[in-house]
Amino acid sequence: MADAVIVVSLLLVAVTATAAVANRDPARQALVLSVLGLVLAVLFTVLQAPDVGLSQLAVGSALTPLLIMLSVRRVKRRGQPKDGGR
């Protein structure tokens, strides 16, 4: 049956989303979120929505992790300006 690939990607999305919530440290969560972006892109491709898959790839693989990691760095850097930051 042609749906095995859909079922596999759906399960991957469910597991990755759960892992993204369960990782409480923002840096580690950003790692899981970037993989979630990839898995979602695969799901959208097998649901025959390549446009949405492209969108998700563009946003999820580099942009969202970069935003989150820059915020993490900024929050960690607060209050220690003397040693040149982290």
Partner: protein, 119 residues
């Protein structure tokens, strides 16, 4: 086909949404909360695209197939999801900017400590 695959995609969307909500409510770090919100958002895309799917169909993009040669999935829901993915990312950025302001003003990004600060 059995009954499970008929609702499995919808159930996955529900699961992803609820897990994201749980993470939002129990988060101890606002950056983590913003990440959970992104998870919630992705549930809506899964739901929309699942509604528009058709068995054995392909995308309504005619650069490499003849119009009318194969069954097609629903393009309207795809268009909705497509714009929202990118706009959602900028909204995530706006929320992160708010978090950075909170961290500057109050020196913490833990929502519980923040409510203590308020009184």
């Amino acid at each position: 086909m059995t009954a499970v695959p008929h609702v499995l995609p919808y159930l996955v969307a529900v699961w992803v949404f609820l897990v994201g909500c749980y993470g939002l409510a129990t988060s101890r770090n606002l950056i983590h909360a913003v990440g959970c919100l992104a998870v919630c958002q992705s549930a809506t895309y899964v739901l929309l695209l699942a509604v528009g799917y058709r068995d054995g169909a392909t995308a309504p993009v005619f650069s490499d197939i003849e119009p009318g040669s194969r069954p097609l999935v629903d393009p309207v829901v795809q268009a909705l999801a497509l714009t929202d993915v990118v706009v959602g990312a900028t909204v995530t950025a706006l929320l992160l900017a708010l978090v950075l302001q909170v961290s500057k003003r109050h020196g913490t990004v833990d929502p519980d400590e923040l409510s203590e600060l308020r009184g």
